[in-house]
């Protein structure tokens, strides 16, 4: 009788396991949602940004910017990038209202004409200031803009690392077929991303380095200090780094309006 009960219990356990376990897609989405939750609550962020462009021969060019991000509840964040270098684009500003699912709203302020121009967010795959980053790489990364698949877990010196593949929902507007992300459980943010073009060929890899911890309203939020993007096809590289970064800044909503760009 005991044997029968044991067999029944084992049978029930074996048969109910698939119903309790998540599919790779569900697990991927769960990880993405966790990342979003853990990294939210930063309120506002300001930083000075430097982008170093390195060509295949090792020649370096430096670009400088200033960035402000305001967290928006129930929608994507609002951000302003002010270009500081090279000198001919000094004072040019890009305002982005990112959205969870819809296309982002974007405006460009051209100081020479004092003109605020609405721009199409269709050119996401264009290079950002001649770098290996595209506008898509640096733009809003909301959970809703991708579908996910958990590939595997890996062990590293900082603990468990989730390896997740993500696919753009709006395939036509993305330059990528998929991205593979390595996400340490410690940071709930990527430390490495591989970008595959629409044909499925690996085109770029990004290493997210020098993670720093920021305390915002009692919450620990991790941000990378730099992103090192390498184009495996052209051998060009770009390093995007943040200085004087502050989180928890209470930025005025009025600063993120097109009239305030002038």
């Amino acid at each position: 009788m005991k044997f029968m009960l044991l067999c029944l219990t084992c049978w029930c356990a074996l048969n109910t396991y698939p119903a309790l376990a998540l599919t790779p897609e569900e697990k991927g989405l769960e990880i993405a949602s966790k990342m979003d939750k853990v990294n939210s609550g930063f309120i506002g962020e300001i930083a000075e940004m430097t982008m170093t462009l390195i060509d295949a021969y090792g020649t370096e060019i430096v670009r400088k910017m200033e960035g402000k991000i305001k967290e928006v509840n129930d929608d994507g964040d609002k951000s302003i990038i002010t270009f500081l270098q090279p000198s001919d684009v000094k004072g040019t500003k890009m305002l982005t209202w990112s959205h969870k699912a819809e296309n982002d709203d974007q405006w460009l302020y051209l100081p020479s004409m004092k003109r605020v121009k609405r721009i199409s967010s269709n050119s996401k795959t264009s290079s950002f200031m001649g770098s290996e980053f595209s506008y898509e790489d640096l733009g809003g990364q909301s959970v809703e803009k991708f579908t996910y698949k958990h590939l595997r877990d890996e062990k590293s010196d900082i603990g468990n690392v989730w390896v997740v593949e993500r696919y753009p929902v709006n395939v036509k507007e993305s330059g990528y077929l998929k991205q593979v992300m390595w996400i340490p459980e410690k940071y709930h943010a990527s430390t490495k991303v591989e970008y595959y073009d629409r044909k499925g060929t690996l085109v770029k890899t990004a290493d997210f380095l020098d993670y720093q911890s920021f305390q915002v309203a009692g919450k620990n939020i991790f941000r990378p200090g730099k992103i090192h993007m390498k184009n495996v096809q052209t051998k060009k590289q770009s390093i995007f780094s943040w200085d004087k970064r502050k989180l928890g800044e209470n930025l005025l909503n009025n600063h993120f309006a097109q009239d305030s760009l002038k």
Partner: protein, 433 residues
């Protein structure tokens, strides 16, 4: 000339060194540009077919928590044609925030406004006077003296402006290839049907509303001012007394500017798939339209009219990270007859097609090609091509050409005909600070 040189040096020095110690509160920018342009020889000795100029521009902004101050201006000195020399204040204003969240502000001083949504045609962008020694589809502006109070509300932004000084446009002189081949006298402001004067101090005002809703940007405005976009150039025969006779010795041309009420607005909308829809419209009601001015072409009065510009822009990414934009715009003037329309605007019924290719590379290489064609008047086309490239972080070149193909159809040139055969090549070398 000496003044301009001093201005240039002071502003560049200020921009470069004066503010370094207070970087947190100051922003500065500057440009020193060497301009050359070569017109097609018109075989007229009076006109100057070359230009070789030094252009300098400086901008300084000072920020504090509750206020800020801005200065921006440029100077141009041309060694071939000193009638081009000019010193222009674009911005010189002080803004004080009435509320801590910067939702209400009061500013006063000279200011450039840009109310435009479209690329080539700008019926809504009416506030500033312009310098006509620049590209006709994107004229340089002159700062307008104003007191401006603005309010940001959840329902949109409201601005109320008082403009006490009517700023006259700058026109190229007689020797310029981009002018009407005449020197204009001091402007006359028509401030009522019985009153003209040469004083620039007049009460003018404007109200503007703007809001972004979804993927669209809307702005509406009402402006009461002395309109400087649609002047009537009057002629007066000058007589000289020789012995007992009064003999005509020349003609004097005077621009007359009239009071007008303009109601207008702009709307831009981003469609899915990379398309932008843009539109601008304005209705200009001249308040003294019974005044008659004697011109070379006969008697003229200001004509009420509507002007509508619509356009679309499509942007897409290229394989190697570059970016392309195709622009198609159309402007039409409604109300007056064909002749009056052609006298009111160079682009009274025109279509513009443009293509921009930005390689988005480290040199920032960019090509722009456009044509503006009159679809009402025959054989009036403006071709424009330019190429820009960075040489390094501070130096940049811009080169290109403009072709004006608009042969004269009557005794006197109208619209783009005034520019016919004034084709030119240009090359600019800029150092940015």
């Amino acid at each position: 000339m000496v003044l301009k040189f001093v201005f240039t040096i002071i502003t560049l020095v200020l921009a470069q060194f004066g503010c370094r110690s207070l970087m947190a509160e100051f922003q500065d920018a500057g440009e020193l540009r060497f301009e050359t342009r070569k017109f097609k020889d018109d075989e007229v000795d009076r006109t100057i077919d070359d230009a070789m100029a030094v252009y300098t521009r400086a901008e300084i902004k000072y920020f504090q928590e509750s206020y800020n101050a801005t200065f921006r201006g440029y100077a141009l000195a041309d060694s071939k044609d000193n009638t081009r020399d000019n010193l222009t204040i674009e911005d010189l204003f002080f803004t004080y925030y009435l509320k801590k969240d910067e939702s209400a502000s009061l500013s006063a001083g000279y200011k450039i406004f840009n109310w435009s949504a479209t690329e080539a045609f700008h019926p809504a962008d009416i506030l500033n006077s312009q310098n006509y020694d620049s590209n006709i589809e994107s004229l340089d502006k002159i700062g307008e003296l104003n007191v401006d109070t603005s309010f940001k509300t959840p329902y949109g932004n409201f601005s109320l402006l008082y403009l006490p000084y009517a700023q006259a446009p700058k026109y190229p002189k007689q020797r310029s290839r981009l002018g009407a081949s005449v020197n204009l006298t001091r402007p006359v402001w028509v401030t009522s049907k019985d009153e003209t004067n040469i004083q620039n101090w007049h009460h003018q005002g404007a109200l503007k509303y703007s809001n972004s809703v979804g993927s669209g940007d809307l702005s509406l405005h009402a402006v009461y001012h002395l309109n400087t976009v649609n002047p009537i150039v009057g002629k007066r025969i000058i007589y000289e007394h020789i012995l007992f006779f009064s003999l005509p010795v020349g003609i004097e041309f005077t621009p007359y500017y009239f009071r007008a009420l303009q109601l207008g607005g702009t709307y831009q909308y981003a469609l899915d798939g990379g398309w932008l829809i843009k539109t601008e419209a304005a209705y200009r009601d001249f308040l003294d339209d019974e005044v008659i001015i004697q011109t070379l072409k006969g008697n003229r009065s200001p004509q009420d009219h509507g002007i509508i510009a619509v356009g679309t822009e499509y942007g897409f990414s290229m394989e190697a990270g570059g970016e392309s934009n195709i622009v198609l715009e159309f402007q039409t003037l409604v109300g007056p007859n064909k002749l009056a329309r052609s006298e009111l605007s160079v682009f009274q019924n025109d279509v513009m097609l443009g293509y921009r290719l930005a390689l988005n590379d480290t040199l920032g290489r960019e090509f722009f090609l456009s044509l503006i064609r009159d679809i009402e008047r025959q054989n009036e086309t403006l071709y424009n091509f330019n190429y820009t490239q960075r040489l390094n972080d501070n130096w940049k070149i811009k080169t290109g050409f403009r072709v004006f193909d608009a042969p004269k159809k009557d005794t006197y040139a109208t619209g783009l005909e005034a520019y016919h055969n004034s084709h030119y090549l240009f090359f600019n070398l800029s150092r940015f600070f």
